[in-house]
């Protein structure tokens, strides 16, 4: 067993050097990801905020291509009236069908040559009453604003019919939604 035994001094030396090794700052085992996570959480909050503040959630497809314009005005939220190739929508709910750029004369109060689109006026009057009530309760002013999203090929006659009907329901200011182009 002589080979197994070592001197007391040697033993102590070996233990001390091992203790020193343990106390030494170790080599990087895994990255400290906490700061990175802080950063990511901030980015996440920022993105979520900008995502929620984006008001226009309109689905553009073949039947709804908005015209382009050089306007610099940013979109502001308002009650949305959408005119696609096939249908008129108020806040996403279908109101009246459109055929070849014309509203079906049966839904107009004054027939083919009339401007008054009865279901559109009815639904907008409901919205106007609600908005007026909210404005009254919050002490603000009813701004009578509508956001009009129309397909670029919509004939002017249909636009005027719709704007006339909106006017009958009490909305006089329109924000025409367009695609902003630099030129």
């Amino acid at each position: 067993m002589a080979a197994e035994s070592i001197s007391r001094l040697q033993g102590k030396k070996a233990i001390r050097s091992f203790a020193r090794k343990l106390a030494e700052p170790e080599t990087i085992k895994d990255l400290n990801i906490t700061p990175m996570m802080d950063m990511m959480t901030i980015i996440l909050v920022f993105l979520l905020k900008s995502f929620s503040s984006e008001t226009a959630t309109i689905k553009f497809d073949e039947s709804l291509k908005v015209p382009s314009s050089v306007t610099q005005l940013k979109v502001k939220a308002a009650l949305g009236v959408t005119i696609t190739k096939n249908v008129i929508l108020v806040e996403g709910d279908a109101v009246a069908p459109v055929n070849n750029g014309k509203v079906d004369p049966t839904v107009k109060r004054d027939g083919e040559n009339g401007y008054y689109i009865t279901p559109l006026v009815d639904i907008l009057e409901k919205h106007a009453r609600k908005e007026k009530k909210v404005a009254e309760m919050t002490g603000s002013k009813f701004d009578a604003e509508l956001m009009v999203v129309a397909d670029h090929g919509t004939p002017y006659r249909l636009i005027t019919e719709i704007l006339y009907s909106c006017g009958q329901a009490g909305y006089q200011n329109y924000r025409l939604l367009v695609l902003r182009s630099r030129e």
Binding site: S69, V75, G153, L163
Partner: protein, 180 residues
């Protein structure tokens, strides 16, 4: 002291050290970070797809009960008549009319497109003419033929809004005078 004793001491020390490390150890944040990274990628992808949208503001003329003529602050100086500019888009071009009368029409370009630059130039001329008293005027009426597409309407409004240098012309547009 035997080698075995030295080894046993070292083992004890290592176990003690690991225990201490575990006690102060951090939360395992890796799964959380995976989720956050996924959400960020998803949100970034949906932000990139957003289209630059803008607004063109228009109004319609409103009828109201007049409250009688406003008192003229300076009786010596009669109030200037309003310009009452009306721009009509027809099948053959633009027609401009103001309180002074109807101006010569602006025909379409030879390629069949509307002469938006010509319209802007004409409006600059009207705005700057001292006889018109239109320096502060920003209102204009807009009208168009029944079949004019919406794209042309918006382009005409663009041509009416400002000149090439960005100076305001007639940005307060009222649609379809006479329909209410």
């Amino acid at each position: 002291m035997t080698r075995g004793q030295v080894r046993a001491t070292m083992r004890r020390m290592r176990a003690h050290n690991e225990e201490a490390e575990e006690e102060t150890g951090e939360l395992n944040l890796v799964p959380y970070m995976d989720i956050v990274t996924n959400i960020i990628i998803f949100l970034l992808a949906s932000v990139v797809n957003q289209i630059p949208l803008g607004n063109v503001n228009v109004t319609i003329p409103t009828l109201s009960q007049g409250g009688g003529p406003a008192e003229n602050e300076d009786p010596e100086k009669p109030e200037a008549p309003p310009l009452n500019l009306t721009i009509t888009v027809g099948g053959s071009g633009f027609t401009l009319a103001a309180s002074g009368g109807v101006l010569p029409p602006i025909p379409k370009l030879p390629n069949g497109g509307y002469d938006f630059k010509g319209l802007t130039a004409k409006l600059v001329e009207i705005k700057n003419d001292p006889n018109n008293n239109a320096q502060g005027e920003t209102k204009a009426n807009f009208n168009a033929d029944a079949t004019i597409p919406y794209q042309t309407v918006v382009e005409t409004l663009d041509a009416m809004r400002e000149d090439e240098k960005g100076k305001m012309l007639f940005p307060d547009v009222s649609f379809a005078a006479g329909i209410l």
